[in-house]
């Protein structure tokens, strides 16, 4: 579960690291991804595991379009820039939730009998639920891929460079909007991947994103904004803390442990564990 949190969070971290915008609609991106993989299953009987790349691709387009249509303008604001971004993405989240309710009704849905659902696997006497295991593997692969992508490819370098100095980058002929749109797409694709995996073992409903969004923010902040590795580590920590809290506190209080650890970390290191600047 922790790695899945990490995967949800890393998209957020990417978007934040890239352009200093916190996407408060991140949870809703997750929700959309879950619905997408639900409908792919319902209409075409494609297992969420197989549809994951499709969902990720769909979310990539979605993220890029959202950037071009909305976020691009929010970033132009000169006055109250922080507020404008927060409330634009918040408003977006509310609209998306409303749309989901409108089109999909507030009913809870789930994908029955996916390849992964409900099965467990035993490794050396420890029983692990399969979906979480696959989720963990996909997450690790995605992290590795992203890390490689950012640090080794030209486009990754372009992203990094654009973050450091958007002005100078324009002089070298890199289109800032294209880079940012791509970044948003990538961030959304990652959360799409997470959503597709989660769809196989989680209820799907319009507000589902909200319950994960806060944990995603905490994960990112815990690891330090703008750090991909931080989001990865944050995800693992959050997962472990959640599991530990569940042992000692009633289930309804399990997120309190996460929040408490987060607060503790941020108070000691106001920039998160691996945050720069």
């Amino acid at each position: 579960m922790g790695l899945l949190y990490g995967l949800i969070a890393v998209g957020l971290a990417l978007i934040f690291g890239l352009m200093d915008v916190t996407n408060f609609a991140h949870g809703e991106f997750l929700m959309i991804a879950m619905y997408l993989s639900f409908f792919l299953f319902a209409f075409f009987a494609i297992d969420p595991l197989l549809s994951a790349p499709l969902v990720a691709a769909g979310l990539f387009i979605f993220g890029a379009v959202i950037y071009l249509l909305i976020v691009r303008f929010a970033m132009r604001a000169k006055a109250n820039a922080g507020m404008v971004q927060i409330f634009t993405t918040f408003g977006l989240a509310i609209v998306m939730r409303g749309l989901a309710q409108f089109f999909f009704t507030p009913d809870y849905r789930s994908i029955p009998q996916s390849w992964l659902g409900g099965k467990t696997i035993s490794i050396g006497g420890i029983f692990l639920p399969e979906p979480q295991l696959v989720g963990a593997l996909v997450s690790i692969a995605a992290f590795a891929g992203l890390y490689f992508f950012i640090h080794r490819t030209d486009f990754g370098r372009a992203i990094e460079a654009t973050r450091e100095d958007p002005g100078a980058v324009a002089l070298v002929g890199i289109d800032k909007n294209r880079v940012f749109a791509f970044g948003w797409g990538l961030g959304a694709a990652l959360v799409g991947l997470a959503g597709a995996i989660m769809a196989s073992f989680f209820y799907i409903y319009p507000d589902v994103g909200a319950s994960f969004a806060l944990i995603a923010y905490v994960t990112v902040a815990l690891g330090g904004f703008g750090s991909v590795f931080g989001a990865f580590a944050g995800g693992i920590i959050v997962g472990l803390v959640e599991a530990t809290t569940a042992l000692v506190l009633p289930p309804s209080l399990k997120s309190v442990g996460i929040y408490a650890v987060y607060l503790l970390v941020v108070f000691i290191r106001p920039r998160g564990l691996f945050g720069s600047i």
Binding site: M83, Q101, A221
Partner: protein, 327 residues
Amino acid sequence: MDKDFAARRRRDLIIAAVLAAIAALTPLFVKDVVVQNILILTLMYAGLSQSWNILSGYCGQISLGHALYFGLGAYTTELLFTKFGVLPWFGMLAGGVVSALIAMGLGYPFFRLRGHYFVIATIVIAEIGLLLFHNWEWAGAAMGITIPIRGDSWLKFQFLRTKLPYFYFALALCCLAWFVTWWLENSKWGFWWRAVKDNPDAAESLGVDVFNSKMGAAAVSAFLVAVGGSFYAQFVSYIDPESVMGFQFSLLMALPAVLGGIGTLWGPVLGAAILIPLTELTRFKFGGSGRGVDLIVYGTLIVLISLALPRGLLSLFSRPKKTGAAR
């Protein structure tokens, strides 16, 4: 310039008095209970937003966790009332003091955080409060508290036959929050806050006590919001964690100020006057369908407004903005 500023402040005070007088007279003409209800909520949110604005607008510490103080006010009042029979008036004060103390306690670690870290920390702390109240048996846990009806009186702050007393209290609260803001705007703290907001490092180097001025803003802001919370509890006469400490309150407190103009004297009032009736009407018109049309309308508005008018609606009225006037 100083003369300008003094004149503007006098003018603001006069306008406020006139508006308050007009508002006070409206119930004479508006007898419809639904409309009265909307008016009460509008005034309440104007007051809340004004209080939020002190910390987040003037001092620049954007908090999206003010639902915590709202809920604390409501819970303190009602727990004192139902468990110990303490009159809501005292409960209200107690709630305010508790909230202010907690805000200051949280200030110690929180005010070291900047930007997004601060915002997320405020959301998280409100969420922790929500979860704790959810699991706190003595405080009614998830079931909440139904406020027992003890008759129709100002003493017990309960009114069964008419909503008018609630209306006047909400108006008084709104006026109080406005007046406190007006007063602080020109105080040492007010100047410090703007300095802290613009550039904390520079402010610090010029001898502004950054930390203490943030603490002051947090305490005043939390106190007023808590009073609003205990008013709301008496008004709806039933509270549970979700209905007084939910995230939507943090948002609803912030939005009017953002819409009207953050960090301004009139922004929250203007924002609330437009936003709250609109919210209530969309909910009234579309909310019944249960299909989220009200959310769509509401969210679209937020997006459009924050994109089109980053400074808030108030910026439409200001002549070629003389930002210097405030300094």
